[in-house]
């Protein structure tokens, strides 16, 4: 699996030509270029409370912000779009002009930040750098429904992908995800995703997480994931 994944990337890089340095995929980005937005929107950090946040979510947010005061935890900011430089880098790496129209690309935005307040993914991630783990507070909105009244399994999978990814650093890509759903999550409720890095083997990062209710009494799901660090230096052919 790993071979096929990096082989795929290698071939893409080979086609596009080598570039020095891997672009960062971290969440703390510079404001993005956008054709028709005001500056306010570009600079907006979405990992902050808004009126759609429930009491539970706000309470937990405040608790974690307190933990950030002594520097042991940090809140990860979250933007809608990537920096201009990073987009340009990736365009050179991956983009085949025949495949994607330029106009459509300029409208692109990070999937989980494309919803109006409260309708989709409301989340914030706190990172504990010493213990290499993160806590993601997630409130799934009415546009994330699956079976009526419940959160869509795929929306949960998306958040698990993001939560596991937040434990990594630098440019990474998801290789595998394995999720066991124990109990369905009611739509519009708040859950806590605790993620950690279990093992690092070269460029392979093995991570795991669990999804619990706010009072920790209900275990909704458990998951493991394998992420790969991107390293164009090593992957040249």
């Amino acid at each position: 699996m790993l071979r096929s994944c990096t082989a795929g990337l290698r071939s893409i890089w080979a086609l596009r030509g080598r570039r020095e340095g891997a672009p960062r995929l971290s969440m703390d980005l510079q404001p993005a270029r956008r054709l028709f937005s005001t500056e306010k929107v570009i600079h907006k950090d979405w990992a902050l409370p808004n009126p759609s946040w429930s009491k539970d979510l706000k309470l937990l947010f405040d608790q974690f912000m307190k933990k950030c005061e002594d520097g042991s935890w940090e809140r990860l900011p979250s933007y809608k779009r990537r920096s201009t430089q990073e987009s340009e880098d990736f365009k050179t790496y991956f983009l085949d002009p025949k495949l994607v129209e330029e106009e459509r690309l300029s409208q692109a935005q990070l999937f989980t930040r494309g919803f109006e307040d409260g309708l989709g993914f409301e989340y914030v991630i706190f990172k504990n750098n010493d213990e290499k783990r993160t806590v993601c507070l997630f409130q799934g909105g009415p546009y994330l429904q699956g079976v009526p009244g419940l959160l869509h399994g795929g929306a949960m999978a998306t958040m698990i992908d993001i939560a596991l990814g937040s434990c990594t650093g630098g440019a990474v890509m998801t290789a595998n995800l394995n999720i066991n759903f124990k109990r369905p999550v009611p739509l519009c409720s708040v859950v806590v995703i605790n993620s950690q890095l279990d093992k690092l083997e070269g460029r392979k990062l093995f991570l795991s997480c669990n999804v619990r209710s706010v009072d920790e009494k209900t275990l909704y799901s458990e998951a493991t994931g394998l992420f790969i660090k991107l390293d164009p230096e090593k992957s040249s052919t």
């Binding site: 990736f90 409208q107 429904q145 998306t158 890509m173 394995n178």
Partner: protein
């Protein structure tokens, strides 16, 4: 344009389909089915499961999103028409897609411990959450009842971005789960995901066509095991492989709504 379902005239509760019944229970007898739109009227085989017909019933009030629109590229359109032909000739079914799953299960109720605060009218199916044509999920599922398999044609829009220019892994996982979910339900009342596993192989460029091939591998102990291969139309590039396990759950008729 009506759906005629002819259940036996006398049907005590004990004869209702049980979870252990095979999906093709002879309890339902399908007489005649007509579709809206571009499909000709033709009688379907009598063995076609009642579940499928009821689930795929066109709703007069709800918009069906599994139909072409201006954002569909030539690849998506041509493959769509190929499968539309197959719905006329070889038993494939085009699964309608509504804003909420509630539209598929009108007249049924969820088990009490599952349904939370009653679903509201503005709640949306995740893969139909982005309203603007071509911006999010453009997809249609075709189901083959006799082989318990389906094909999903997927054209991702710019709002599904992850790595710049390519589809977010989570958004693909969500569509695979959704296709699993529809296939599982139509194949035997598979309702809730209990396990989901995905291996990403290659990135899908935004705006291109990806084809999801889903199969029911086995049904055992009230669990359905499904597999999915997501690849390019020419099958030269495999984007991802996934497997899922679904719990079968029988939905009771909701007499209070009728």
């Amino acid at each position: 344009m009506e759906l005629f379902l002819v259940p036996p005239t006398s049907c005590p509760d004990s004869t209702l389909p049980q979870p252990s019944d095979p999906p093709w229970s002879p309890w339902w007898t399908l007489c005649h089915l007509s579709h809206h739109g571009d499909q000709p009227k033709s009688p379907l085989p009598r063995s076609w499961p009642g579940q499928v017909s009821r689930f795929c019933q066109e709703m007069k009030k709800s918009k069906n999103y599994a139909l072409p629109n201006a954002s569909w590229g030539p690849d998506m359109l041509s493959l769509y028409h190929e499968f539309l032909e197959k719905t006329k000739t070889s038993g494939w079914v085009r699964v309608p897609s509504f804003r909420s799953n509630r539209d598929h299960i009108q007249g049924f109720k969820l088990p009490l411990d599952l349904s939370a605060n009653s679903d509201k009218s503005d709640w949306r199916l995740f893969t139909r959450c982005i309203e603007r044509e071509g911006q999010g999920y453009e997809y249609v599922i075709f189901f083959q009842p006799s082989e318990k398999k389906s094909i999903c044609l997927f054209q991702p829009g710019p709002y599904l971005e992850g790595v710049p220019g390519f589809v977010h892994g989570g958004s693909l996982a969500a569509l695979i789960d959704e296709t699993f979910s529809k296939t599982a339900y139509l194949s035997g009342e598979g309702l809730l995901t209990v396990n989901f596993n995905i291996r990403f192989k290659n990135l899908i460029p935004l705006g291109s066509l990806a084809v999801l091939n889903v199969n029911v591998e086995k049904i055992e102990d009230q669990k359905m095991y499904l597999s999915c291969v997501t690849q390019s139309r020419d099958q030269q590039t495999v984007y991802a492989k996934a497997s899922g396990t679904f719990l079968q759950m029988h939905l009771e008729e909701d007499s209070s709504r009728q």
